[in-house]
Symmetry: D2
């Protein structure tokens, strides 16, 4: 017989979670600038009376990869300060120390169970098309070129939803529940900082989850994932020499020509017979004026590979391509590390328990054991850390219909996944913290 | 015997012109946003009591090529409004109607003699190197990524200097002197608008001038130029389709790959046996985020040719390359015309007169007849208009040592060229408006 | 207990098969020109008294993909005619009708069991390095730029070996054994023609096999394979316009520039998230003289994909890239289909029987069930045909150490795999044609 | 009054020269393999009784740039040996020592006057179009991919024509006339070898000439040329590593990808503001088989520049591009010098005399003084040598209508230029060797 969260008004909860998600959707914040998002979560947790840590104490300064430039950070901070006051909270986050870690102490002793939700948005502009659901309902992004196009607004709402469900059953919890609201997942940047801060110390079980992906059916849930692509993120700068394009083109060292050569040859890095590989030059900005030979070009790129070796093959080749392209145009060349994630394998023991729990959740109609994630996810950093200390980890996927691919301006997901996933998360935690296990 | 402007204190004038030039250098303004520059000139002219027209009346709205985007324009306007008040003047210029046309009525009837000075800066960042003269003297650019790196600050000062010299000899002037302070020469944008407004109507003689170029010797002056490169300026936008670079790279239509392909193949357009050709992709901006297949890329480019035919060959090839590159990646493609200039030929009659005048100017040690300009200059648009109405035109070059090529962040010129060129301009005008000619 | 082919002197047989293999290695012949190879096999079969069909009767003229040009074919034919006389046999093959189909009639009625061996070489030059085994033993290729670098010389010898073993046990054979020596496997060209000729009609069981690949251990055998990459082969010709590179470069339409643009952008076709994809531009030949703008460029290319869809995605993208590159340089463009193979799935029923047989073969130490072939193989065409008529098919791999990757000039394999594979093939056939099955 | 060559039947001579030209056109021979052409010229000179030197004695082995490969040379030699016997002559030329130097001793002492005609063909296939004059008249090229597409067949005929005219007036010649039939002008290869052999020693006046170019009017003749482009010819080889394109693409070092990258970036070398520049990749051959990652690619290229400096700028940039492209794909890289020519300036003194002579030639209607050659011509090597010893030199152009650009398969010129140019050459020589000058 399926478990029902009978101590909670699920209908009312759903309404509140959807409202929360839409509010976050309206104010998307890019990695390391989730000031408003974090304030919003802190206020929710405050109301619920859940203790929470945030700011520098949950971060490791040296491994805060891919921080935005200072001016951008300052502008974001100021804007949020004006929007919501709360300098008491914000001042602790200043400089990118966003996200938070909540903790529910169960009524009885037991293991430490953690789950992680990521909260940042994408650097993508949201469509203004009237057929787009957020537009129709009036909650589309208010920030140009920023959008929750990967469902992390939903993740945050699921996290709050699970907390609310768990609080109602605290008397049955044997152990401690730690909930990590992680910043800067996009770009695989935030997990290392949280992990290295010690925020995962003592965790026995940890799981994460993502909505959508290629599991586009409500009620379908994957208990574990494989195919995490190892990934490296880096920025490359070509430094050439400007010259007047009409009067002395031969005096220039064309940084944009170097970068364009790099783009084509990066995309042309041979496929690897050992498994999936990826490369993307996400952005390129070069040149100063129409009639000036471009003296600088900057690109942001990433490589991926099914294994660490394949990813290293890709990033070594990428480095070689960029270096050679720079030399071709007598340009200087700088490469700056911006983030990375490795591969990770889900623990069968935990996966088995998750499957058993999922079978008892109302609304879950299909359980997949081994979803092909086929992408990078910096949760693997957390998984590896917990596993290295003897804990167990898995990454789930909560299926739901989506309207366009992730990271696309038309992305939209079925909000019904929020309450369903919240229940699934809560049920898994309750089962892991049940009396029998605690003994 | 050489002519001496004995009614003017040349030493004092020089000091003031240098101060004016440095002030303009400190506040460089890009094409169509020369609000402060224009205010500064208007105030000078006001003080001198010279009648001046400005704002919409000297522009032709439809041919104001390559206007900046509205937000940028508004921001510039607001900043200048705060800096210098003078809403009385600024409100007339709002929307890019910068520049001005002054007119000195001589004491006697005679021809209309015009000269033109351009006043805009470059989209180039100025070096902070302590060896750079403007840095050492503390007048370097206060605006990031903007710099007077082509000497138009000097041109403006020369214009004011010539006016001051001419005013002292107004009693000897037979005719009218019209001085055009033109905006947006960079990008070959501003001349068409001024010309089409009718501001050149009635002009009998017109000349322009540029400092530096490859004539790097103080005292050397070219009375005429050849080798103007015809030029076309346009912006190209590639519109692709975003997709997650890890999860579904095959779903993307990579606008940046299209643009990079275009860059290389644009530079590879075959040289033309008929004479010089040029192409430059001055800027390229593409992509939204590191892990998103770029959905848009925008480039600003220009072609040049020794003849109109060669320039048309280049721009037709460029169009074909961009179109094909877009098709290769299933991207949409838009091309937007941003400015142009043709070729023009200096009139021997006027050149002869200029040479005769130059020979009488103290400090001019060498006169070139036929300088190879080897670049684009939208003054050719004014030349062609005046010539089509029966007037005569020439473009001069005032030699001086320069520290780095034009449009380079280290550009700097010998300020002694300012008083010298001002005297040359004034002397040419005085000779063209002398009693004997007026008859 | 392991089966021993006690009616045959295995030591002597091994010696003869190795000699045959080395003879074939010395005279490698490219697809559709295996004149000497076929004559050699026909003579062996004649000696053994095995009936054999060859020439036009085993081919389907319309689907003889990727035939060489007529002159090359004629030259090969003439050379072989001079080398070995046998016009009686050769005249039937003239025009590329190479390969042969042998048939052993068992003593008793039963099913038709077929196996296929490919016999063509690669367009690769063999190393002259003294450390290279064929060089040391004096049987390296006598034909420049041709080499058995994929082990098909071994395949042919295995086929003859299996026939000799089977002939010794003909009294125990219930059914018919059909052996297909197929030409032109490289380029995935020959299988279609043989298949469409009807040569597979009536086959109940069919299997093929390849030596080496990534199974580099003698005694390891794979009973079935997956991961066949669907593939399309085509040639692309760019037709431009020649011009004098010094006197009028602008008059040329540079076919080589178009081809080079195509090369880079073909390699840059995005990876597919659905599984492996491949693209290779194997050869490019362009231009006529150093100072002439190249007027023609020809490339041979191939795409591959884990599924037919992925391969079609690749070949459609390739077509688009080439077409756009041609348009970019005002070149004409022609694409010519040269061969293809689809995907295929091995039949579990046959695979199970193969595994049982392999377990009884002396020298086989490890059996893999599901080898990742990760390449194209036109045997899939035969598999699909037999399966479509209700028969069963599988593709095996006979492991052995190799000295360099397949298709490399240093390729060499351990000849001990020949007798071992011959026994494996014979034992599988004997078991499929055993009394119990025939009933 | 115009001079008439009244001692010669011009109509008959024209007929014979045209026949000679058509014979040479039918058997075009590429640089350093002009065996038949040289035999043909030697036979003509033998008949005329003109002493001639040829073979090793007129060459300088070390500077015989860009020799063909030995096999090709041997094949050409053998073919000609079969065609025309004359081993007595051919054996002296074996190994590329083609061309010859004839000498007419005048009746009186005087200066040494030399003129040079080049005799090699282009690596271009001749059209088979029935509208093409050589096809219509049945004298099109019998050698595939070889064609006299630059008029050197005409040059050779003009040389013989001039000799025949001069012989008729030997009694009036004060001095010596040296006629150089130079091989391998295409690729700028042959002049250095002839020059360094000492064949020009003692020359007081030297001139060369070309038919056609952009002077497409019969009767127009240029007495001197400017705008010779300095040029460097070299071959580049990229050495990569082969691998199976399906099984292990990541193992390959793709030489063809490196070469394609080089092609685009070579064409993209910035134009030079100092004057004309050129670059051409005339041929590219890469790869061995469709499914093999290309392990080698070879390109033949050339750079040109209006000045030696510009040419050096181009070739240095080319070297850098190729080297970087090789590094990008982990390929080895070799560059081999194949030929070169510098710039040269015609001597006004000689030009003046040529003009005076031309004015007296019947049929010459227009004389240009300063033709823009806009191309490379290795005659500049001879000019520089003669000038360095105090002699005078010029390069002429004999105008005539052409049907297609030089080096194009449809190239054809008006044969009437042959007798006209022969007379012009003869008249110039006669005037330079006239009694008055000899004193």
């Amino acid at each position: 017989m399926k478990f029902v969260f009978d101590r909670v008004n699920l209908k009312a909860l759903t309404k509140e979670l959807v409202a929360l998600r839409r509010d976050l959707h309206r104010y998307p914040e890019s990695g390391w600038t989730e000031y408003r998002t974090t304030v919003r979560l802190l206020e929710e947790l405050e109301t619920l009376g859940v203790p929470v840590r945030f700011g520098e104490e949950i971060h490791h300064r040296v491994t805060m990869y891919g921080l935005p430039d200072e001016k951008y950070d300052r502008d974001c901070y100021q804007r949020v300060l004006q929007e919501c006051g709360r300098e008491d909270l914000l001042s602790k986050m200043k400089g990118g120390f966003t996200g938070c870690v909540a903790e529910i102490e169960g009524a009885h002793p037991g293991p430490v169970v953690a789950f992680r939700m990521d909260i940042d948005c994408n650097d993508v502009g949201e469509t203004q098309d009237v057929g787009h659901f957020p537009v129709r309902e009036g909650f589309q992004s208010l920030h140009p070129n920023l959008m929750h196009a990967c469902g992390h607004d939903g993740h945050a709402a699921i996290g709050i939803g699970a907390i609310r469900l768990l609080l109602a059953y605290r008397d049955q919890i044997h152990g401690t529940v730690r909930i990590i609201f992680q910043p800067a997942e996009e770009g695989l940047r935030g997990a290392a900082s949280i992990t290295n801060s010690g925020a995962l110390d003592g965790v026995d079980w940890i799981f994460g989850g993502h909505i959508g992906l290629k599991l586009n059916e409500l009620g379908a849930v994957a208990a574990s994932s494989r195919g995490f692509l190892a990934s490296t993120k880096f920025d490359v700068t070509f430094k050439g020499r400007a010259a007047h394009a009409g009067a002395s083109p031969e005096m220039g060292h064309n940084a944009l020509a170097a970068a364009s050569t790099a783009v084509l040859n990066l995309l042309a890095i041979p496929r690897h017979s050992g498994g999936s590989s990826r490369i993307n030059i996400g952005t390129l900005h070069g040149g100063t004026g129409r009639n000036v030979i471009p003296e600088e070009a900057v690109m942001t790129l990433e490589t991926r590979g099914l294994t660490t070796e394949i990813n290293e093959y890709m990033s070594a080749a990428a480095e070689r391509v960029c270096k050679s392209a720079a030399a071709m145009y007598e340009c200087g060349y700088e490469s700056r590390f911006m983030g990375a994630a490795g591969c990770a394998v889900c623990d069968p023991e935990l996966v088995g328990r998750v499957i058993r729990s999922l079978k008892t959740v109302e609304g879950i109609s299909r359980i997949e054991e081994d979803f092909d994630f086929a992408g990078g996810e910096d949760f693997t950093t957390m998984m590896s850390r917990v596993q290295s200390k003897g804990g167990k980890a898995t990454e789930m996927v909560f299926g739901c219909p989506i309207k366009a691919p992730h990271h696309n301006g038309f992305f939209d997901f079925d909000e019904q996944v929020i309450p369903l996933a919240a229940q699934a998360v809560a049920k898994i935690v309750l089962d892991l913290c049940s009396e029998s296990d605690a003994k």
